[in-house]
Point group: C2
Chain length 416, copies 2
Amino acid sequence: MTTRNDCLARDAQDPLAALRDQFDLPPQVIYLDGNSLGARPKAALPRAQQVIAQEWGHDLIRSWNTAGWFDLPKRLGNRLAPLIGADDGEVVVTDTTSVNLFKALAAALHMQAADPARQARRVIVTERSNFPTDIYMAQGLSSWLERGYSVKLVDSVEELPAAIGADTAVVMLTHVNYRTGYQHDMRATSALAHAAGALIVWDLAHSAGAVPVALNDDGADLAVGCTYKYLNGGPGSPAFIWVPRKHQAAFRQPLSGWWGHAAPFAMAPDFAPADGIGRALCGTQPVVSLAMVECGLDVFGQTSMAAIRAKSLALTDLFITLVEQRCADHPLGLVTPREHARRGSQVSFTHPHGYAVMTALIARGVIGDYREPAIMRFGFTPLYSSYADVWDAVEILRDILDRQDYNVDAKRDAVT
Amino acid sequence: MTTRNDCLARDAQDPLAALRDQFDLPPQVIYLDGNSLGARPKAALPRAQQVIAQEWGHDLIRSWNTAGWFDLPKRLGNRLAPLIGADDGEVVVTDTTSVNLFKALAAALHMQAADPARQARRVIVTERSNFPTDIYMAQGLSSWLERGYSVKLVDSVEELPAAIGADTAVVMLTHVNYRTGYQHDMRATSALAHAAGALIVWDLAHSAGAVPVALNDDGADLAVGCTYKYLNGGPGSPAFIWVPRKHQAAFRQPLSGWWGHAAPFAMAPDFAPADGIGRALCGTQPVVSLAMVECGLDVFGQTSMAAIRAKSLALTDLFITLVEQRCADHPLGLVTPREHARRGSQVSFTHPHGYAVMTALIARGVIGDYREPAIMRFGFTPLYSSYADVWDAVEILRDILDRQDYNVDAKRDAVT
């Protein structure tokens, strides 16, 4: 049986352990919600102070040039690219995941419509269990295009092969499911879509910085993702969009704002898309929130996704094992795949009083979160989560369950 | 003739003079570019520090509830509403001006398409001199809707009445022109659009916080605008969109993300728009950049748009008069209307070497900006611009012109 001392011993040998010191984590908190909002890199505060006091306050409008504000979406995109298997000049950090998904889906439909052999395709295939905003954006886009697009929702991964067919324009999937932690096989599923003549758009919200991603090698077509979860960019920090070089010339999207123009300061009255990834941009970005994204990326620059993945699997394996050993008498159901290749960097358990138990955990300093129905989510962030954290979190969970120390009438807040 | 001492005397009597102390302005700078990037409220730095260190770093995910992050777009919208003649619950601060314009235009087209008497209308009318991104977004939207929408560009305000007709779905205008400072008559032009059966969408990028705006009283249909110019929200701070109560039930927009859902945390697989202004939201917002918007709005809470307007006209009148008196020997051409009702809060002059002269001004600490073709823009922000600033700026301009102390070969940067 594993003991707390075993966990401490593993922490002592953990090659990533020193990185925890680069994050500001409150005392008496075990933070297992980095899959919702990443912790704060210590460097984010001085970086924001520099942008606000010096670049904005002192240098004022000149900072668009002198501080490189205008180039930030591309520069940060190039920093992020290696983490997701993208090349230089293929990623920009900009707008929200929802807005970027709209661009990517619209562009994919446009590419299909431009191909005489594929232009009759009218279906976007996705999962009913996808993060809702992805479905909503697909519904929004398809309902506004009068050619009669529709969104087909499948109820399980097993249904995907049958659902993707001659009418499928685009397959849109979230690589790692936000609720279950299930990780799709990007290479096999991309190949499945392509074999059926469809394009595939991936949402990396729970993948970027969490699991190794190989967009180009695995044959993805377009992708979007989030910087405020595993990438630790800050609350609501701008999202990203990936357009591989092979698709850039054909990439057109309806949010054709001036930042995506070939010559934004020529002030010409007709839109002409920028060459390359720039055409995925739209309007002026929130510089302070954007600049802090770099502080999260800087930490990734000191390790590798392979090292992060190794520790992530070790942490999630340990958590599953300890919960199953030490909370065996309680009605907890593992939702996340045991198979490593199918697992993201979180572990979800159901419990009949999931919301109440999670509320009790949070009150005791173990911060995970709750998702309907009955799911307690625990996110593991190898940059700052320790093996001892896992032990302590399970012990607190066990204590709460053993003593039934939770309020089954707990009412859910608007947002958690 | 006015003297510098006259200007100092006016500053001494200026009821807004004390507000300048609430801004961090660098020494030796006369900042006349608040129409591009507003100066920094001193309160913005501690506010950002609080959000980053305490709300993000310490309270982590809980801040979505405890710090009110989720409500920020609506709460800031309600703070902004009185400045533009909007009511409570009609404005949200979110996304970019370009993206919000896309929503507003799409919603306006949708409203027209839902009316049997108007559904055949296929033209969006705007000005060729409009800020390019507005035109680009209209082009992007109309080219993606297969019903055959087009964008009609008029070359002067005088052409508007003839251009708005039975085929016009929407008139889209920027209230104050970014280049010339020309201010449209919102009431008369809204009535003109309505008389022709069209809806009217206003861009308030150069109006909000700069001139009194009475959206509801003047009969506007929808509006968008910017918070990083006269509202001093910070570089690239999120923009706003106004949907008046009368149009909220009919307002539909294709960027139907989860923040615009009636029950975002129910995680339902079908989009259902929120009641009220919430349906104009889409995705998660950049909290740090968003929170600082409040610091700019706090300053407006200490005065009135009437007081700001009175000083704005006094400053721009003074600038025009002094330039025409003291630089009379030079080929400067006033572009901004002399008529108060038609003037925003900027003054633009052409000069054959406009870019070179502006570069020289900036080097001497007078920060305005340049816009093609040949236009030097000087923005006046009554919250922190003084009458002595006007005097000193004109004296430096006069000196540069008299001595031809500018480099006619100066090459334009990517962004200024």
